[in-house]
């Protein structure tokens, strides 16, 4: 099949950037959209043009490297699917497919479809440590955790940090990401000790990074390739609210956010 890829091309963060249309022939339905871009890039290199920059690593939907907005939807039209797992059979012969990078102030554009997502790393960093006994591995049944709680934690921990939630949110909020990170430790006994401080610090960092606010509309969870539920945002809000009331120490200060050049 043949498709036209309408791709955002931008040399660097200072460049203005614009859409460029590329016709790609010989597209196989079994190709992923990243492989389709590989084919396009091969032909661009042969023609002496600059290939399209896009992030990718594992190509099996678990690393969180890839991702861009495909036809107005983060990671494309299939639910619970990363861009690397999105096969071309979901498009029709002759389709024009629009590829755009994640758009958020907190994600400065690096090149073409690649954005700097270090702001998400800053939020994780702000979460800090958990207190665990070191030394020998503890007895596996020494700390019983109910299955429901383990499942809740595991569902949140499935977050691969791709940034699709921010991209899909009309407010460019990172609430689902931060909520997932807060929930996956916060519901477990191992994360109990630092629960309040962690919520305060991670929320402070999320705000400092210049993400928007959460209006609870649910676009994030629809775009999330790991289908992380909206409940994690409520968990973040609950831990933040409780932490704000219970704290005795000074509020944690955020590290210099990405938008301010760190």
């Amino acid at each position: 099949m043949k498709v036209t890829l309408k791709i955002w091309r931008q040399k660097n963060s200072n460049d203005k950037g614009q859409f460029v249309k590329y016709a790609v022939d010989d597209v196989d339905g079994e190709m992923s959209i990243l492989e389709c871009l590989d084919v396009l890039n091969e032909s661009l290199i042969l023609r002496g043009e600059v290939p399209v920059a896009f992030e990718h690593d594992c190509r099996e939907g678990i690393c969180g490297s890839c991702g861009f907005v495909i036809n107005g939807v983060a990671h494309g039209p299939e639910r619970a699917t990363t861009a690397c797992q999105l096969t071309m059979r979901h498009f029709k012969d002759g389709d024009e497919i629009t590829l755009e990078p994640w758009r958020a102030k907190a994600f400065p554009l690096v090149k073409d479809l690649v954005v700097n997502r270090r702001a998400l790393d800053h939020i994780i960093e702000a979460g800090g440590y958990i207190s665990v006994g070191t030394g020998q591995a503890p007895e596996a049944n020494g700390l019983p955790i109910g299955k429901e709680v383990a499942d809740q934690s595991m569902d949140a921990a499935a977050c691969i940090g791709c940034g699709a939630c921010v991209a899909a949110c009309p407010n460019a909020a990172a609430a689902l990401f931060t909520g997932a990170k807060i929930t996956h430790l916060g519901v477990l006994p191992q994360g109990e000790t630092e629960k309040d401080r962690r919520a305060l610090a991670m929320v402070a960092q999320m705000n400092a990074e210049g993400f928007g606010n959460c209006t609870n509309i649910g676009e994030c969870t629809g775009a999330c390739p790991k289908e992380i539920p909206l409940d994690v945002i409520a968990k973040m809000n609950r831990d933040y609210l409780c932490g704000s009331f219970q704290r005795r120490d000074d509020l944690p200060t955020p590290i210099t956010p990405v938008v301010e050049g760190a």
Partner: protein
């Protein structure tokens, strides 16, 4: 892009009110306060279906028997409204700044119409509220009829007999219903109250309550236009 150095901390923390999460908690609480008023006001209004003495006596009771208490309630409501609007404006500006370059194409895949239009339904309902207070509380605007202080029944009936007053009222109340159908559920999410079972129940209840409130309010102008209330 290797960055192994230590990133310096900001000198100032993010306070509760400075955080978007804190502002949303304020919006949830103030929204709940205003919702209580909406319910109370609707029950008061439904006395229009009783003989005129009932609602006129109720109006007299509010304005003359509990004057001080009424001003305290009005103060709380005004404060709630001011905080709700302030937080909204600040958050809307922040969200706008969070995405300086928009998408050329963006599809909504998982959100309700009501939730996406909160920024529209809110201000329109606020504009309506001002008009509504000027018409029925202050009596400054009372098209095509004479506002009679104390005659609640007569004022409502003569006010709604003007077709565009009724139309504007019904339109604004439908928007209020949309606003509530998302807001009532969203408030619970903002204060951190969510559970897979609870969430489903809350979403359905929010929509049912919003529909009941809209029907309760718009039944009055419709009845006036149909001649049930004279």
């Amino acid at each position: 892009m290797g960055n192994t150095g230590v990133i310096p901390h900001h000198p100032h923390p993010v306070s509760f009110w400075q955080s978007s999460n804190g502002k949303k908690v304020v919006m949830a609480v103030t929204g709940a306060i205003m919702f209580c008023f909406i319910v109370g006001h609707m029950i008061g209004n439904l006395q229009m279906f009783l003989p005129p003495e009932h609602i006129n006596a109720y109006g007299h009771f509010l304005h003359h028997d509990i004057t001080e208490e009424l001003w305290i309630i009005r103060g709380i409501l005004l404060l709630a409204l001011a905080l709700h609007v302030t937080a909204t404006v600040q958050l809307a500006l922040r969200s706008q700044a969070a995405r300086p370059i928009g998408y050329s194409r963006k599809e909504a895949i998982n959100s309700s119409y009501a939730s996406r239009t909160m920024y529209w339904s809110g201000p329109i309902v606020l504009a309506f509220l001002i008009f509504h207070l000027l018409q029925f509380t202050a009596g400054y605007i009372h098209p095509q009829a004479q506002f009679v202080a104390g005659d609640v029944y007569g004022n409502v009936a003569s006010g709604f007999r003007v077709w565009w007053v009724s139309a504007w009222y019904i339109f604004a109340l439908c928007l209020l219903g949309l606003h509530l159908s998302h807001g009532l559920w969203s408030a619970f999410q903002s204060i951190g109250c969510a559970h897979p079972r609870l969430t489903r129940c809350l979403k359905i209840s929010a929509q049912a309550i919003a529909v009941l409130i809209v029907l309760g309010y718009i039944s009055i102008p419709i009845s006036v236009l149909l001649g049930v209330i004279k």
